[in-house]
Symmetry: C2
Subunit: 313 residues, 2 copies
């Protein structure tokens, strides 16, 4: 009961990179299909206030911005399919995308599968996920009204989300393994000037404990070498991201952290296979850089298809 | 009567790249000044309908999009100065920006000076500029209501603007030196399917003639090797762009066409000097790629300033 459908381009992933690729590819006259296994919008949909996407001088949510991109891509003809991909098979101008219900033959592919939050890998982390352990303050922050929470990490996301959490929580600890935050200055200043925020310096979380829900953290101070307990109702973990490279692991050239390596045209090492957004090895992971990647990948793919036109069946 | 002012970052140029750099630099806590010699918004302000900047599913004008970016940059503290720059002097962490009225000492610089349209360099081009010769259909198209015009070029801009001109003109010739347009398929199809548009293939304009205003073009067909005349009321020239590199010509590494060469961090060959947008050597010149460049340049400059903090006076 398998159907086979033909497209010029398959975009894998429906975050800003994939949606921008959809806008450019379909507006460029290519028959374009975009696959997203979960919610359209990607990681950014969990961010309540995006204030630095150039052009939106009034702060919008990540969901709103990507919803606009989705409508724009569909306006130009991108077909969006919300289904999990079983496998990708790369064969020049004749690639196969397989889902549970169908096979798609596509001339070129843009990989925009994004990235996901890193885990701490400590005792209690998995057990209490959804019961006090969270990777998304925007999603779960409102559950902690009047409560005490901890944020683990010292980068932009960690510190920004700590500030966000003060809207709900009565107290927010930032637990950071160094003696200095990594977030941009303005964000640091905002956090350090917020009376609800207290930074626990030079410290790592060793275990998350509780009964039904999280109740306390076991904290190890690397300078004093002492272990202590911190009572919290919730813990938000912001310690980096890992690329979603499962579909391509063995075939596409990756860097040592698993991000896809492309050239300036967003071309991978395989002819006709492009990549864009957070899954790519790059300097800065932001909505605008993901969107630019997607535009470049679609533009490059279109030129490549044009050049290889004679070889197409 | 010279004043000296100190800033962390000077952004040179107020198009999408410069404005996005302003948003990121000032939001990142850096004291940021942006210089623009003409109108804020850059080249894109001459485009009436921008329909592919990701996130604006309703078509906006280039002016409107960059006006939003300007307000956003100012919201975070970017100071915008509309003045011509006399000179830039690069000295690590102590660069000088000189205008007619003041000197600015800046720790880092982001060059976002953009690019300008190429000229044909033919008889009558300069003489009739503003009197029938134009490089901006959006600016001047409405002057040709019910008239006959020609567009020179075969790329995206040329063909898109030819389509735009059919809103006003009764007849639009596209004069292209090849037997095939370079524009993306959808644009080509729209143009070739438009009954007001006629393509003059394999041809170049040798001279622009008239009395007070443009009256006719001398056209040379490269295949038939014959010269003919074409009566038109206006000619719109879209044959490429040249980078605005005058301020940096002898110091910054450029490619053979004069575009600034940067690494992936948008760093030029000079420490603390970054570049972004159309003036940079790159694959795709679009608002979204310019904005991404600006964001990356500001992010990189901030990290560089942080790393060089001890050396700062």
């Amino acid at each position: 009961m398998e159907t086979i459908q033909d497209y010029d381009i398959a975009v894998i992933g429906g975050g800003p990179a994939g949606l921008a690729a959809g806008v450019y590819a379909s507006r460029g006259g290519l028959k374009t299909v975009l696959f997203e296994k979960a919610l359209i919008g990607g990681q950014i949909t969990t961010t309540a206030d995006v204030e630095n996407y150039p052009g939106f001088e009034e702060t919008l949510s990540g969901f709103d911005i990507t919803d606009k991109m989705k409508k724009q891509a569909e306006k130009f003809g991108t077909e969006i399919i919300q289904e999990n991909i079983r496998s990708l098979k790369f064969e020049k101008l004749n690639n196969t995308v397989e889902t549970a219900s169908a096979k798609y033959k596509v001339k070129a592919i843009i990989l925009a599968t994004g990235a996901n939050p890193s885990k701490l890998g400590i005792e209690g982390e998995e057990k209490y996920t959804g019961r006090g352990v969270s990777y998304c303050a925007t999603c779960d922050g409102a559950l902690y009204r009047g409560k005490t929470v901890a944020v683990v990490g010292g980068g932009d996301s960690a510190v920004e989300e700590a500030i966000f959490l003060t809207k709900f929580a009565k107290k927010v600890y930032i637990i950071h393994r160094r003696d200095k935050l990594r977030a941009v200055k303005l964000t640091q200043e905002r956090a350090l000037g917020n009376e609800k925020i207290e930074v626990v310096w030079d410290s790592v979380v060793k275990a998350i404990k509780g009964t039904e829900y999280v109740e306390k953290l076991e904290i190890y101070n690397k300078k004093t070498q002492k272990t202590s307990e911190l009572s919290v109702d919730g813990i938000f973990i912001y310690v980096g991201i890992i690329p979603n490279n499962e579909l391509v692991n063995s075939q596409i050239k990756l860097d040592e952290q698993g991000f896809i390596i492309t050239n300036a045209s967003m071309h991978t090492n395989i002819p006709g296979i492009y990549a864009a957004g957070d899954v790519v090895q790059k300097i800065l992971r932001q909505v605008v850089t993901a969107a630019a990647d997607g535009a470049i990948a679609a533009f490059s793919a279109e030129k490549w298809l044009e050049e290889n036109k004679d070889k197409q069946s």
